[in-house]
């Protein structure tokens, strides 16, 4: 009885084929998935490219800003140096003028 019953189970569970064209439907689904993943990759590549361009632009702007600041500092330093030199020269001139004026006055008689 048990063997009969198990045989009945085997008979009831005979393998069944899917409907005609199953393999083609699977291949179509694979092709669809591949094209979807290709689209996804393209989209990601575009986003990555745009992000890279933006990054380079921001970095460039930042570098440009830094360079400008450095140039400004350099110009300021040069200006300060020039002012210092001018000051020194003015000092020398002032002292020379002072020295001249403190000498006894020459009346031009020659005696």
């Amino acid at each position: 009885m048990s063997k009969d019953f198990e045989q009945q189970l085997r008979d009831a569970l005979q393998p069944v084929d899917p409907e005609e064209g199953f393999d083609q439907r699977v291949m179509a689904r694979i092709a669809q998935e591949r094209s979807r993943s290709r689209t996804k990759i393209t989209r990601w590549a575009s986003v990555a490219l745009a992000a890279s361009v933006l990054f380079v632009a921001v970095l460039g702007a930042h570098q440009w800003q830094l360079r400008r600041e450095q140039e400004g500092l350099e110009a300021r330093k040069q200006l300060i140096e020039a002012l210092r030199l001018t000051g020194e020269k003015l000092d020398v001139a002032y002292q020379a003028v002072n020295r001249e004026s403190s000498l006894p006055a020459d009346d031009g008689s020659g005696a």
Binding site: E6, A12, L13, Q14, P15, V16, P18, D23, V26, M27
Partner: protein, 185 residues
């Protein structure tokens, strides 16, 4: 006949792994019966079985590099088909599943000695719990022994044997019950 149809499973695998879609299609044709039958017995619905079987082959396509041999492939296909079916049944059990009326179309009547009994049998199998159903399908449809079933389902052999014993008792009782009811009528 296409050349790929004459290839062994291992040859087909090698060609499919190399990206030959005709080899992969031949693999699908070779194993569609196994995968579809498991899906059908588990889900008891032709449309859902077709969808699940397609998903199994789609997953195989992505996992081709991890398959070592033809034997491994068959093991893998059975395992993935059963596990996906169990997952789907569990997901769907949250929504009330309809009575398994589609089972009526599942029996291949050309090979059935007693179509009515076989139909009843597939209906009763469809009423088993997902795990018990998987064990019965692998035992009586795929003709696996308890050790292979345990490996496929990641269960202990004792659990497999206990599922088999309980399922057989349950099915026998239900079939006999049906026969008694029919006799009374």
């Amino acid at each position: 006949m296409k050349a790929s149809e004459a290839w062994s499973g291992d040859e087909l695998l090698t060609h499919a792994r190399a990206g030959e879609s005709s080899a992969f299609a031949a693999l699908v044709r070779r194993y569609q019966r196994t995968v579809y039958s498991i899906a059908l017995r588990m889900l008891n619905d032709r449309h859902r079985a077709e969808d699940l079987a397609q998903e199994v082959f789609l997953q195989l396509y992505r996992a081709l590099d991890s398959i070592d041999s033809d034997t491994h492939l068959v093991f893998w296909l059975r395992k993935v088909a059963v596990n996906r079916a169990i997952d789907r049944m569990r997901q769907e059990s949250r929504h009330d599943s309809e009575p398994l009326t589609d089972a009526v179309t599942v029996v291949d009547e050309s090979i059935a000695d007693d179509p009515l009994l076989h139909r009843r049998m597939t209906e009763l199998i469809a009423e088993l719990s997902p795990a018990a159903r998987a064990v019965v399908v692998l035992r009586y449809q795929e003709d696996l022994d308890p050790v292979d079933i345990a490996g496929t389902l990641d269960m202990s052999i004792n659990t497999v044997k206990s599922h088999l014993k309980r399922s057989l008792m349950q099915l026998r009782a239900r079939v006999q019950g049906t026969a008694i009811v029919e006799d009374i009528r």
